[in-house]
């Protein structure tokens, strides 16, 4: 059996800062297969973005240090691969989309030139992208790349794509720029796409379009996606699977319908209880007290225990393992059996 597209095993990451060594990722386990869209959710400061950045080795080290674990991309451990080879994967096999579209486009070049460059670079790895016969001349390939760029812009919903290729980044609005970045990430037909809050800065109507595009790309090209977001609504409507992160741990993971319909971990339940829904009565939302702990001196055992309404002494004894809830659905909570009987919050 071929290895899965991405398999993160027991990943430990520390960051050295003024206060000391922070254990920012504390044993992450995650497997992404082709055709899956994994939502990575949690409060800010839980390590969602660091997990995404680790996959493309974009976390500056030092101050970061990988203490343990592996990130296997099609069976090859990215942490042990020479940087040169990781760079070759980045942008071609592994695509990235970030939240802030302004800093990720070169203001001095036309959008078209930037897209064509990415397409040509990616074509070195996979010539089929350009859809022209092997050994075609530079001219032909450039023309094909240009055609592809226009097609991609059109697919991400930019009107008059052909003409807009000649525009500079500052001539696009924020939402449009984010679409350009998404086009750029998709043009090389990556096998794995990491999208870090790609729609947070956008209006809901644009967000809906872009999420639809993302889903379409996954089914058309059979790629794997990690979608980092703090919006459970986005996860519910877009993802096939979800992993809930808290303070450097994945506390619950599984198929999205399973997790959302039967949240097993108290943290997942608390997050869901905080979202205003159609049924919420005014003043009745349940906020989650406290804050994400300092990761230099994390609480012992379960890191969520200090904020957990159901915590008992045993919770602080050791880090809870991921226990199966049903099928692929796992949750890292020792009181799982008991909480099963609880009603939904």
């Amino acid at each position: 059996m071929a290895p899965p597209l991405l398999s993160i095993r027991d990943l430990h990451l520390t960051m050295t800062s003024f206060e000391g060594e922070a254990h920012v990722l504390n044993g992450i386990d995650l497997t992404v297969r082709r055709g899956e869209i994994w939502g990575l959710v949690g409060e800010s400061g839980c390590g969602k973005s660091l997990t995404g950045l680790s996959i493309s080795r974009l976390v500056p080290a030092p101050p970061a240090a990988y203490k343990r674990g592996e990130i296997a991309f099609e069976g090859r451990d990215l942490l042990r691969l020479p940087m040169r080879e990781v760079q070759a994967l980045r942008g071609k096999r592994i695509g990235m989309i970030f939240q802030d579209p302004t800093t990720n486009l070169n203001p001095a070049y036309r959008i078209g030139e930037q897209l064509v460059d990415v397409a040509l670079a990616a074509a070195k790895h996979d010539p089929s992208i350009l859809d022209c016969e092997a050994g075609a001349g530079r001219r032909t390939r450039r023309r094909a790349a240009h055609r592809l760029a226009a097609e991609m812009l059109d697919r991400v919903g930019i009107p008059n794509a052909e003409e807009r290729l000649d525009n500079y980044p500052h001539e696009f609005s924020g939402g449009m720029r984010q679409r350009v970045l998404i086009a750029m990430a998709l043009i090389g037909r990556p096998d794995l796409l990491i999208a870090d809050e790609p729609t947070t800065a956008l209006d809901v109507s644009v967000q809906a379009q872009i999420l639809k595009l993302l889903k379409g790309t996954v089914s058309d090209h059979d790629i794997g996606v990690i979608l980092i977001t703090h919006n459970l609504g986005v996860v519910a409507e877009t993802c096939t699977h979800v992993a809930v992160m808290y303070a450097g741990n994945i506390v619950e993971r599984g198929p999205v319908a399973e997790v959302i319909n039967r949240p097993a971990h108290p943290y997942t339940r608390a997050l869901m209880a905080a979202i205003p829904t159609r049924a919420s009565q005014r003043g009745s939302l349940n906020g989650l007290g406290g804050a994400v702990p300092n990761l230099v001196t994390p609480p012992p055992g379960c890191r969520f225990a200090p904020r957990c309404a159901r915590a008992i002494a045993a919770c602080s004894a050791q880090q809870p393992p991921a226990l199966p809830v049903a099928g692929e659905h796992h949750a890292a909570c020792i009181r799982l059996a008991e909480s099963e009987e609880l009603e939904h919050v």
Partner: protein
């Protein structure tokens, strides 16, 4: 309202002290910044105690010992003696006071004038901005040293006049810096909040805008200290600064010029002192910029 009473997590409640310790931690990461700080500390030490610690205080006061003219460096005179038989080390140590205080005076006066001009120009805008900034540009078109020379010549020699003369050519840089910072700070949300509360323009400028422009000003002051000391020495060198017998680096250097290269040691000590001071303040300024104003880093 139990869930409302969110207990503030301990690490959020670090004291104001913590901010300084954090800054110090980052400052210490850079060896060059630390070297600069050490050099500046030495210079400041001699500024305060140079006159007192000088091995030959009588020479500092103007006493001469013609019998000991042009002695080369030795144990008794580590940097030799000059044409009047005075100990060069003593003169340079005492000269630190004049040079550094003059430099500091120049930077301070320049900062005050520049901050007022730039702050008002940026805050009020429209024609006030135009008038003040064109005045600034006008001052900038005249070479600083020439302008200072002209002013010093008009006012007559002396410590205070020299400081005033240089300051009057020194403020435009600060005016431009502060204007830019004020224009940026004016758009901050907390300034809008203050306007929505009904705060007066003066309150907005002095309470909300100017305090937030302090960091880049401090950085520029530190970077400028070295150049101010050089300019003071420059005026001394061309003979319109502090007059002998008051020891001053530029004057010392200028006097020793006549005896080069035979009696090279007379120029050695004041030159080295200037180099140390300028280099030290520049390194310190760079270090401060990295911790106070990281966005300006290239």
């Amino acid at each position: 309202m139990t869930e409302i009473a969110e207990t503030p997590p301990i690490e959020m409640l670090s004291t104001g002290n913590d901010r300084w310790r954090r800054a110090l931690f980052r400052f210490r990461q850079s060896k060059l910044s630390m070297l600069g700080a050490a050099m500046v500390a030495v210079v400041l030490f001699f500024t305060l105690f140079g006159t007192v610690l000088a091995p030959y205080p009588e020479h500092v006061a103007g006493g001469v010992a013609t019998a000991d003219r042009f002695l080369p460096p030795s144990a008794a005179h580590p940097f030799g003696t000059n044409e009047l038989g005075q100990d060069v080390l003593s003169l340079v140590m005492a000269g630190t006071t004049v040079s550094v205080l003059a430099g500091f005076g120049v930077v301070l006066i320049g900062t005050v004038i520049g901050t007022l001009v730039g702050g008002i120009a940026g805050f009020v805008g429209s024609w006030t901005d135009e008038v003040l900034m064109r005045l600034t540009d006008l001052t900038l078109t005249i070479p600083g040293l020439i302008l200072a020379m002209a002013i010093a010549a008009a006012l007559g020699p002396g410590f205070t006049n020299m400081v005033i003369a240089i300051s009057l050519s020194w403020w435009p840089g600060y005016a431009r810096l502060v204007r830019g910072e004020v224009l940026a700070a004016r758009e901050e949300v907390y300034v809008t909040a203050a306007r929505a509360i009904g705060a007066s323009p003066a309150r907005i400028l002095f309470r909300h805008i100017l305090p937030n422009t302090v960091s880049p000003i401090i950085v520029k002051m530190s970077l400028d200290m070295g150049f101010a000391i050089l300019t003071v020495a420059g005026l001394g060198f061309i003979g319109i600064g502090v007059r002998p017998p008051t020891p001053e680096w530029g004057t010392l250097l200028s006097l020793s010029r006549a005896y080069m290269p035979d009696y090279w040691w007379t120029a050695m000590a004041p030159g080295m002192a200037m180099f140390l001071a300028v280099f030290g303040f520049n390194l310190l300024g760079d270090g401060l910029r990295d911790i106070l104003d990281p966005k300006a880093r290239r």
